[in-house]
Amino acid sequence: EDQVTQSPEALRLQEGESSSLNCSYTVSGLRGLFWYRQDPGKGPEFLFTLYSAGEEKEKERLKATLTKKESFLHITAPKPEDSATYLCAVHLNSGGSNYKLTFGKGTLLTVNP
C-alpha cells in the first residue's frame, strides 16, 4: 500500500501559468515532509522541509504548504527552467535513531515557453 501519493503524475504548463502539485500521505507519526527537485541525470536536490500542519516555506517561485494529510507545492508564474521532476518524501521514525525516507513517485513538470 502506497504511503506517499503524488498527483498529477505529469503536468504541462505554459510559462507564467501558476499551478500546484499535491503530495498526500497515509502514515501516522509524521516526523517531517520533504520536497526535492530532480533534473534528468542528476540526484534529487533538496528544496523544503515541513514539520507541522500549517507550516509554509517559500523559495523564489515555489511555496510548500502542509496540512495533516497532504502537502502542496505551489508554483507561481513558472519558467521553463522550473521543468523537472518534483519528489515528495516523508520521514518515519523506524526505531532507535534511524529515520527512513519514503518517497512518492514524483510529478514530472514541463513548462513550455
Partner: protein
C-alpha cells in the same frame, strides 16, 4: 550541504557479474543511505550504513545481494552482486544533513545489465 560524489556515474555490465559503487562525502557524516530508483518507480531505500556497525537492510533487500561497506565517516560502497537485467536501475547514495533532517543525494550510478 555536503558534497557527495559517486563512482562510476554509469556502467554497462554482463549478467552474473558484480559491480561496486563508491560514495565519497566531503565531510564526516554519521549516517549514509543507499537507494534504488527504477524507471517509473519511487526511490526505494536499500539500506542504512553506519560507520562501525553492520548495515541495516530494508525489507526485500539482503546482504548477500547488496553487501555494503562503511570503513570511515566519509566513505561507503554498495556492491550489486550476481547481476541480472532486473538490477538495471539508478543507485543513489545520500547523507543526512542533521539527525532526522533532510537527506542530500549524490548524482547516482546508472547501471544497465545485458
Amino acid at each position: 550541504s555536503a558534497v557527495i560524489s559517486q563512482k562510476p556515474s554509469r556502467d554497462i555490465c554482463q549478467r552474473g557479474t558484480s559491480l561496486t559503487i563508491q560514495c565519497q562525502v566531503d565531510s564526516q557524516v554519521t549516517m549514509m543511505f543507499w537507494y534504488r530508483q527504477q524507471p517509473g518507480q519511487s526511490l526505494t531505500l536499500i539500506a542504512t550504513a553506519n560507520q562501525g556497525s553492520e548495515a541495516t537492510y530494508e525489507s526485500g533487500f539482503v546482504i548477500d545481494k547488496f553487501p555494503i561497506s562503511r570503513p570511515n565517516l566519509t566513505f561507503s560502497t554498495l556492491t550489486v552482486s550476481n547481476m541480472s537485467p532486473e538490477d538495471s536501475s539508478i543507485y543513489l547514495c545520500s547523507v543526512e544533513g542533521t539527525p532526522g533532517g533532510a537527506q542530500h543525494f549524490g548524482d547516482g550510478t546508472r547501471l544497465s545489465i545485458l
